[in-house]
């Protein structure tokens, strides 16, 4: 779990990873690491304030070099919200995330449908399974040119879609996507905030962290 200056949901992600039964390792944006982590989470927040473009600056952090190398070699990487933005800026995922259609920050309990349950991070879900997970962002609108969109959909790389009102104007209600290999997943909603009904709308988010674990163990 990589912390950038301005990362906000990093502790929360650590908690989620722990709850899912894995051993969380806190990584610092300034360090390339060789330590053998089995997977990486890029947390939500506003890295470097995100004044320029979300993730635009974080993408150049030394730690990202390790993430990019790792991702190319199949290392499971999950980018949540700001992490998703960083992955797009780093071109590990296609498209980009722009200002919400309503141009306002939106914090809501969002209904989602899992579309692709074969990725490293969604294997624990059934295809078509519905979840309720908080969404909170101001630059959450997923955009790409039509060719790219068709390609993503054609290759079944849409991981999750919004149900009900589209909270941010994302093209084709896309809430999350993955790379071709399925090891890199970007997700706008925050599964780490749906791990315990006490502090979230549900525990539906645990699956993202659990999926990985079962995959790693069985592997």
């Amino acid at each position: 779990m990589v912390t950038f200056p301005g990362s906000l949901d990093d502790r929360d992600a650590l908690r989620a990873i722990r709850l899912a039964g894995a051993e969380p390792v806190a990584l610092w944006h300034g360090d390339k690491w060789l330590s053998d982590v089995d997977a990486v989470v890029l947390p939500g927040g506003f890295s470097y304030g995100d004044y320029l473009r979300c993730g635009a600056i974080a993408r150049f952090a030394p730690a990202m070099e390790s993430v990019i190398d790792g991702a190319r070699n199949g290392l499971p990487v999950l980018g949540i919200c700001n992490g998703f933005q960083v992955l797009c800026e780093a071109h590990l995922l296609p498209g980009a995330l722009i200002r919400n259609a309503e141009r306002r920050f939106v914090c809501r309990d969002q209904r989602l449908r899992i579309v692709n349950a074969d990725t490293a991070w969604t294997a624990g879900y059934q295809p078509g399974q519905e979840l309720v997970i908080p969404i909170k962002n101001i630059d959450g609108g997923f955009v790409a040119d039509r060719r790219t969109l068709d390609e993503i959909e054609g290759e079944g790389r849409v991981v999750a879609r919004y149900l009900g009102a589209n909270p941010n104007g994302s093209y084709r209600d896309i809430a999350g996507i993955c790379n071709q290999a399925g090891n890199v997943v970007g997700l706008m909603p925050h599964p780490e905030h749906a791990i315990d009904p006490l502090t979230g709308p549900s525990a539906d988010g645990l699956g993202f962290f659990g999926s990985l674990l079962s995959k790693l163990v069985s592997a």
């Binding site: 200056p5 301005g6 906000l8 927040g45 914090c107 925050h190 780490e192 905030h193 006490l198």
Partner: protein
């Protein structure tokens, strides 16, 4: 600011001694003739222009509390005995600190940013959040939540459409970027706030009970370090002009540069400070808020050894053209000042480097009791710091009951036409639930992150926000804190003494309803001009009421803030003390939510309902009428109600609870039903007037949902404690409506539309 254009020659102490008679613009800086005279007397010479700048901001209403001090004293004098047990730090510091047990302490405080938010809504509100967060951080605490109490002009007024969206996105923009969950607040519309919106922000922080940091510069030889953002022209004269004199009069003439916030810089500053605190690298720390460097240096020195030497020219600037006077007044955000012993300096700088935070040694703590500042080797300031920080002017302003007060209280409004038939009651219900003050607030609250940090147990629209605290080991504990802020300008206009107590009572009740035990109070006193005896009477009465109330409820005031001059011309805003109450709950899993869900659960109304409509939302919405007396206050009853709610939640006797306030029973019920999705069949008790039963605003009441299985135990509890508890209905999932037996029926869908459409229709 003008000085940047016409650059005056450097005014040194030496020059001041030789040119005693030189005229100085003390009046323009908001200083009175005799105040200026006193400065000369203190210094035994005329002040240098830098000293004049410092005195003018430190002696401004905003920083010196010169008009409010004599009244605020009561909070200390009337502090309940409980204060000694729970207060680790009382009033007078950046924020009070409350012992919550288990080696943990909690600090919280509310502060206003009213005038800046009117000038530039986004930045004004954003920097308001930034400022209060730094106050909390300064105590050594990690900020863990914010709340915001907002008041605007009429919802459909043109300027409200400019101010409200800006303020809301400013609070969200800054708080969200800091990773602070927003767990509650207020949104109120009233024409009196049109040109004087109220933006009060509350922040809560948690710290180890033995990790409290104080704002004092001790130990001669220790270094004074300025760190965080560089100093620019932001809000120069902000403290003295914006906050100490009527905005209309001064503001138009010389509007100060607006302060712009940089939440990212603040976020790293927070993490940097917490690492510094953990390593115990500072002996004293102070945030730079109103009056910037003037305030930080004088308060640190005054509270410590007393002596300090500062090389002002070492301060890193964003704008190289700034004159020393301006540097001293600048309100540039995201800056802190620390006192560090020489042997800790290297470690201190290492942490700053890790977080990319710029830090500069500005000077040292010295023996003696003078604060001396130099500018490129020349002495420009040489003052006794206490005379700025503690010994400012104190005024006992004249107070006079407003001429129209009796008339106002006389027009009880009993003659106002009331709804009689079921149809009329139904129409009234819809009208109230869709009125801007009672309608769904999610257009605002959805712009705030309530989840970040992963500890939010309750947040808007619950009665109080609740967050879980970390355990000693840093893991999640079961202990939580609950906070609520409340105020009611209309009640206070009718009776400031009772009104302040009603605000206190509501915040107290809101905390108790969640199952948390109320512990301590913070407050933000928003009033008109203290130079108006009628306003000063309102202020004096409100403070007296609040102090008496806190004493009776046994919860001490730990801090707060005063905002005067909230008026346009001679018309003041409604007197608006905003009260924040903090409570503690041992086991957050036991919290009581407001949502009515459990099918078949019995609905009980706790407390007494009287025919009380003075200052009510009904009189306001249905008749635009304000007159009579506010609801009666009974703080003993509030205590009793709280005890029952807390015990019932601990013993698992209730599924849900919601307090009754604006709009009375019907509005509370509708909110709880809409939250839970369950319908309800309501029975008007025999002999009760349906209108009074549904819409009266009698205080000291709450509704609770009691599972069938617990009904006997719960009613026994109420009987034993002598708390009136009336069974008024049964939850009914299938009903999907609020039905008032024999009067009217409102389908949930219709109710939801009426409730949820208002704000989006107004603000897009």
């Amino acid at each position: 600011m003008t000085a940047t254009r016409r650059r005056a020659p450097l005014d040194t102490v030496q020059a001041a001694e030789s040119s005693a008679e030189q005229r100085q613009p003390y009046a323009e800086l908001g200083l009175a003739k005799d105040e200026y005279a006193r400065i000369k007397e203190i210094l035994g010479r005329r002040p240098t222009s830098s000293e004049l700048a410092m005195y003018s901001v430190m002696w401004s209403e905003h920083c010196s509390y010169k008009s409010s001090k004599v009244h605020l004293k009561q909070f200390g004098e009337k502090a309940p005995d409980q204060a000694k047990e729970i207060l680790l730090v009382g009033m007078g510091e950046n924020a009070g600190v409350v012992d919550v047990g288990g080696g943990l302490a909690v600090t919280f405080k509310i502060e206003s940013h009213n005038h800046p938010s009117y000038v530039e809504p986004y930045q004004g509100a954003a920097t308001g959040v930034g400022g209060i967060v730094r106050d909390i951080l300064t105590m050594g605490a990690r900020p863990i939540a914010v709340l915001d109490s907002l008041r605007f002009g009429a919802a459909d007024a043109r300027d409200t459409a400019r101010v409200l969206p800006g303020v809301v996105s400013g609070i969200g923009g800054y708080g969200n970027c800091l990773g602070l969950p927003n767990i509650g607040g207020e949104l109120v519309f009233d024409p009196s706030y049109l040109a004087n919106p109220l933006v009060n922000a509350l922040c809560v922080g948690v710290l180890p009970a033995d990790g409290i940091k104080l704002a004092k510069a001790e130990g001669p030889g220790s270094l004074v370090v300025l760190f965080g953002a560089r100093t620019g022209g932001d809000g120069i004269g902000g403290a003295s002009v914006l906050a100490s004199a009527s905005f209309e009069r001064e503001g138009e003439r010389r509007r100060p540069a607006v302060q712009v916030g940089d939440p990212f810089t603040e976020k790293v500053l927070i993490e940097c400070c917490l690492e510094i605190f953990a390593a115990d690298l500072v002996t004293g720390i102070q945030d730079l808020g109103a009056a910037g460097l003037s305030c930080a240096t004088t308060e640190l020195a005054a509270a410590g050894t007393g002596g300090m030497r500062i090389d002002l020219d070492l301060a890193p600037l964003r704008d190289e053209t700034l004159a020393p006077e301006e540097i001293l007044m600048s309100e540039s955000q995201e800056r802190m000042m620390a006192v560090v012993t020489p042997d800790n300096l290297e470690a201190f700088f290492e942490v700053c480097a890790k977080w990319d935070v710029a830090a500069t040694v500005l000077g040292t703590v010295t023996d003696g009791d003078r604060l001396v500042m130099s500018w490129h080797g020349e002495t420009i300031v040489d003052v006794p710091p206490r005379t700025l920080a503690h010994e400012g002017p104190v005024y006992r302003r004249p107070v006079r009951r407003p001429y129209d007060q009796d008339a106002l209280n006389g027009e009880h409004g009993n003659g106002l036409p009331r709804p009689k038939t079921g149809e009329q009651l139904r129409a009234t219900a819809l009208k109230l639930i869709s009125s801007p003050n009672l309608a769904d607030k999610s257009w605002v609250t959805d712009q705030y992150d309530r989840y970040v940090q992963g500890n939010t147990v309750l947040a808007q629209p619950e009665d109080a926000g609740m967050v879980r605290l970390p355990g000693p080991d840093g893991e999640d504990s079961d202990v939580g804190i609950a906070v609520s802020v409340d105020g009611n300008g209309r009640y206070c206009r009718l009776d400031p003494y009772a009104g302040a107590q009603l605000a206190l009572a509501e915040a107290y009740r809101n905390v108790a309803v969640t199952g948390a035990r109320p512990l301590a109070v913070t407050n933000c006193l928003n009033f008109g001009s203290p130079e108006d005896p009628a306003v000063m009477w309102q202020f004096a009465e409100a403070v007296r009421g609040l102090a008496d109330g806190c004493q009776q409820l046994g919860i001490p005031v730990t801090g707060g803030n005063v905002s005067f001059y909230n008026q346009t011309g001679n018309t003041a805003i409604l007197p608006t003390p905003v009260v924040g109450v903090l409570g503690v709950i041992d086991d957050v899993t036991r919290r009581t939510p407001m949502a009515l869900r459990g099918d078949g659960a019995r609905l009980y109304l706790l407390g007494d309902t009287r025919d009380e409509f003075g200052g009510s939302e009904w009189a306001h919405v249905a008749h635009g009428f304000l007159g009579g007396r506010p609801p009666a206050v009974d703080l003993e009853r509030e205590k009793l109600l709280a005890d029952v709610l807390i015990d019932a939640s601990r013993d698992g006797l209730i599924d849900a609870a919601h307090d009754l306030s604006d709009g009375g029973l019907f509005v509370a019920l509708a909110e709880a039903c809409l939250r839970g999705g369950s319908g309800i069949r309501l029975i008007v008790p025999d002999g009760a007037d349906p209108f009074v039963f549904l819409f009266s605003e009698s205080a000291g009441r709450a509704i609770v949902a009691v599972p069938r299985t617990e009904e006997v135990r719960f009613t026994d509890l109420c009987t034993a404690r002598r708390l009136p508890a009336q069974r008024i209905g049964v939850l009914d999932i299938l009903e999907a409506a609020v039905e008032v037996r024999g009067q009217f029926r409102l389908p949930m869908a219709e109710l939801r539309v009426a409730w949820a459409s208002t704000l989006p229709a107004l603000f897009g």
